[in-house]
Symmetry: D2
Subunit: 229 residues, 4 copies
């Protein structure tokens, strides 16, 4: 699968506001905003919610995590093949809340390539972003953990770090997309992220916990167009 | 939820034979065998398959794992509330393929009690089974990892260890059920397990990879009745 | 090795005040306080400091952690045999800052028994303490993580939880010692711990960061005698 | 500290043949071979043995692992400051037997830079070696885990993979040294490694378990000179 940039990934995490029936509602809001704006909006719901969202919503779905395993003896693990059959077209890898070993990240990227899924490796700083980029995922997403969930947007609080990340990644890998995340809650934070050289944002609570999820996603989507104006 | 013993838990693991559409088929076979035998048969499919099985099959569903977390910032984790909304009524905990820290096991047991789910803690030997039993789960399942997937049944290869496990668990906890697993592929292995003092078995490849899953589950279910004959 | 109760274990953690040369000084202070009070005082320094302390100080030494491994291919792990040759006579297991899987705890206890070392399993609440006790270590030490390093002593802030821990452990295991720890910085906290039914305390910053380490250890040691007065 | 290439790192792992008194003997053999050959030979003993080797042997010592921590509340962890005070001048990071998360590797490299230690990150394949190199350690060591301890040398069994690793690392990082390891037990394996573009080897059982450790190290050291002949 080839994704069109700019893009927005909505990470549902494990909020109650994005679990079960409410995950479906959020995905439908994302679908509507994507269709109206023409911008790529991806949803990353919990495992249990992938199947139903895939049935009822026409929007790319990412898993939040998959394990570096082959089918077999792996009780309690997340199998790529199961995520794919349920409807996932890609996966987050190494989110700061689900960090992985270096060799696991590489193994998962390899599995996604074998199976035609999109890989998005998260990184906590510019240097780990460079390390991730060197392993050739489709997307690298930079998220400083100390800003996650704070409402202080990385693109405004640490613009030079975002620029540095883009630069370090680009030195090593000209093909992967670069996103940033953490603290993004306003359309202007999204626009700032794009102006700093990213191809979009990875967002969670800013959308999940919003009163009007649809409007926020719509605003974020429009904001990604800033360079085309 | 209160489960009636004896019981059989079918662990789907991450086999392709028990993923997606084929998970649904296996669950339907388990349902049919349960209804005809009158024996409790529980299925433990992968996360992504819980929702659809819950919709189409009337049989208790366990998660293979849940994480010791509350709703919130936990990308890539398994939230009890999401498993429950999807249809799970219980969960495996600490399977030898998904081992957990002591404090995590206790925290997950506590979450299951708060939320009315059944807890089944797996243990790799009689002493860890005693350790598990001391934390008061609903079920302790003893599985020696070296026999998993071998076809050499724990109930025949190590009967004295099964008896020892039952005894050590009973000294500490008179209420929890005790299961055993690993290598069980014949009805006589199930009967042997029950005669040794267990309340049933935890099985995986013996059923998942069987050509006629229904007949095997049915045979296993009948075999659990050996003490009532 | 058989330890005489009551006892005090001084956990050096990885404070600079208890690293290298300063670890040796602290161990000498502990030795002096032990000799003068006649109370068992154990030191648990960092790995690198065990050998030199063992050479120069006549006091029981515990490792802070060992790994559940046999000699061989285990780069970067802590081998019991190496800790023993360096001079350790026992080890902490599962400290809240170095938590272990259930099966690992059991495997390490088994290794200590095979090799004649003393095992002290830490537990974060009464239920995990019961789980630990069921696996028959020599010592169970209860430390609520939320009080560690706070100066709020568990023996005064949560006396009923200490009593509950002692009771749950005793139901399952009449032989192991029970210690408590977290927040202990005054002799009266130690006396309170002993009055609640413990055989002593596990302490760290209260001693390591004290200006006069010797006097504090001496006071703590005297305080453990409260029931003999 | 600046190391002169080519170099040989002897990983003591947790073999009994390289524990305690025998670790000291091995380190003395390495020292003698280093002095006579003029080649840099580094020893990586267990934590407990660093101090005594540093006192008695004049040869660079690496830790086998350090943790990404600052001094403080970290029971059972390996503190860089403690390893340094004991005598370590560098550390292995992410050995395949002690694998680390991406962010941990980066954090440990940063700690070594702050404290003037040499960092050697191990990688299990060319792509993870590139990922490691992007984070700018002093040394990247490529070791395919499937060959470790087999006696089948990576430099002869997989020469094209060694070349590929060197190439991928060099594209990203022109300054770090590249070593290879796994299965190396003969001087010709060392020579082959150097001819393939590495600056030396990381070896363990081939030396630790040799009857005449000194002669093997001496032979290996001479073999690294092949390009200077």
């Amino acid at each position: 699968m080839k994704l069109k940039s700019p893009l927005i990934i909505v990470n549902f995490k494990t909020y109650l506001e994005s679990t079960g029936q409410r995950a479906l509602t959020l995905a439908k809001n994302a679908e509507k905003a994507a269709q109206e704006s023409g911008v790529t909006v991806i949803v990353a719901p919990q495992m249990m919610d992938i199947g139903r969202i895939a049935e009822e919503v026409d929007i790319p779905i990412f898993a939040q995590h998959i394990d570096p395993i082959k089918p077999g003896n792996n009780t309690g693990h997340v199998l790529l093949e199961a995520a794919k059959e349920a409807g996932a077209v890609g996966t987050l890898i190494n989110h700061s809340e689900r960090q992985l070993k270096l060799s696991e990240i590489e193994a998962i990227i390899a599995l996604t390539k074998e199976n035609g899924l999109v890989s998005c490796v998260c990184a906590n700083n510019p240097i780990t972003a460079a390390g991730a980029a060197a392993m050739r995922p489709d997307i690298v997403s930079f998220e400083p953990p100390e800003l996650i969930g704070t409402g202080i947007p990385v693109s405004k609080a640490k613009p030079e770090v975002v620029v540095n990340t883009v630069m370090l990644v680009r030195k090593i890998n000209l093909e992967c997309m670069v996103l940033c995340g953490a603290g993004i809650s306003q359309a202007e934070d999204v626009a700032a992220a794009v102006k700093l050289g990213t191809q979009g944002v990875l967002v969670a609570s800013g959308i999940v916990k919003a009163k009007d999820q649809y409007s926020i996603i719509r605003d974020f989507a429009e904001a990604t167009k800033i360079l085309n104006v």
